[in-house]
Amino acid sequence: MRTIQFEKIVSEVEKLCIKSSHELPQDVLTALQAAAQKESNASAKKILNQLIENAKIAKDQQIPICQDTGLAVVFLQIGSQVSVSPDNTTIVDAVNTGIARGYEKGFLRKSVVAQPLNNRKNTDTNTPAVIHTEIVPGDKIRITLMAKGGGCENKSQFKMFLPTDDKEKIIGWIVNVVAQAGADACPPFVVGAGLGGDFEQCCLLSKKALLRKLNSHNTDSFYADMEKQLLQKINSLGIGPAGLGGDTTALAVMIETAPCHIASLPVAVNIECHAHRHASCEI
């Protein structure tokens, strides 16, 4: 058993909060640059270049890329040979402590209210985070933090299809979900789709899909092909950057799948804005 200090996890999470808010991942920046090159609509090209400039200002001046520094969604892969010290602490506590510290020290916006309906009072710490844990072999902890904005999350959708429905029907629905997100959710989007699993696993898949590199493809050629078709159809919508028209409505579409019940075919779409902020570390 390897022992990891509570404080070590706190300080790593703190760094992830600050880094992810100020530095757009390289693959996202590369996708924006490629889109700006290819874009045939002059004003859309200008907007894409402004987004690239925004990323540069954010990094140089250490100002958050977007004022919505997000709800912290944390994916933990915890090695089965890991324990946390002192004994009366947990990894989850350490993650939340790190987020509270990171959002305070990094001058990030606290966007979490304690109650959803009655008395929506800000917790002033940006906690609790939404934390997903997975036990994996080994003696390390891998932490991935996604700062998920509210505007795009609001446009995400879930639907139960019939097990006999075909690929075209699902593609049509996903494209329509993106169309409905439109200008409101800050296109060009990164689109994560979950197929299969059950109600909650399907939604989680759609969010996990966002963590793939934007130039990656599903390892199964059927779904890789579906990703390609979706991207092409979504970009044909003409919504464009900021919803003001253009060829670039999405930077990538990524599908993740899981086995499911014979009666079911759940599909979830997680809409992510162009400010696709996430960072990882391994302890």
Binding site: Q50, L51, I65, C66, Q67, R109, G182, C186, A242, L244
Partner: protein
Amino acid sequence: MKKITTPLTDEVVCSLKAGDEVSISGIVYTARDAAHKRLCELVGQKKQLPIPIEGQIFYFVGPTPARPGKIIGSAGPTTSARMDSFSPILLAAGLKGMIGKGYRCDAVRDALKKYCAVHFAALGGAGALLSQYIISAQVVAYEDLDTEAIRKLEVKDFPAIVAYDSYGNSVFKKVEE
């Protein structure tokens, strides 16, 4: 690029057409969901508002905290549609312009026509870039709302597009499926 200054007059609003690129200078007030709800409650009770809104522009933004010595943090627009049910009430009370991102509903479009007002779109997700055009910021109401408090901002050459003009036109071609 049309240069406009606040507060807005009917003459200026009438000169703006959907799709026009503008640069805005002068005072704008920040307000998002929670502040809108409170302001509209006051309007409903015929009570005085904590800020003068006649001729003013509301910028739908909840900025990040300013670093020491800085004016403001990241400050880009939030989704306008969440303010849709409130905006007609505030336009009737004298508000003349709004800055946000994304679509507005038909009731807002009608109110923009009726009260000769305008809705601008600023670039969503570009809060670092847009913060560069803000030259002063001060909380003037609802301090308890933290980022959602009403701030008086002075902006200089703030870039935006006329998204919905006072004639019922929109820059957006909404995709219908």
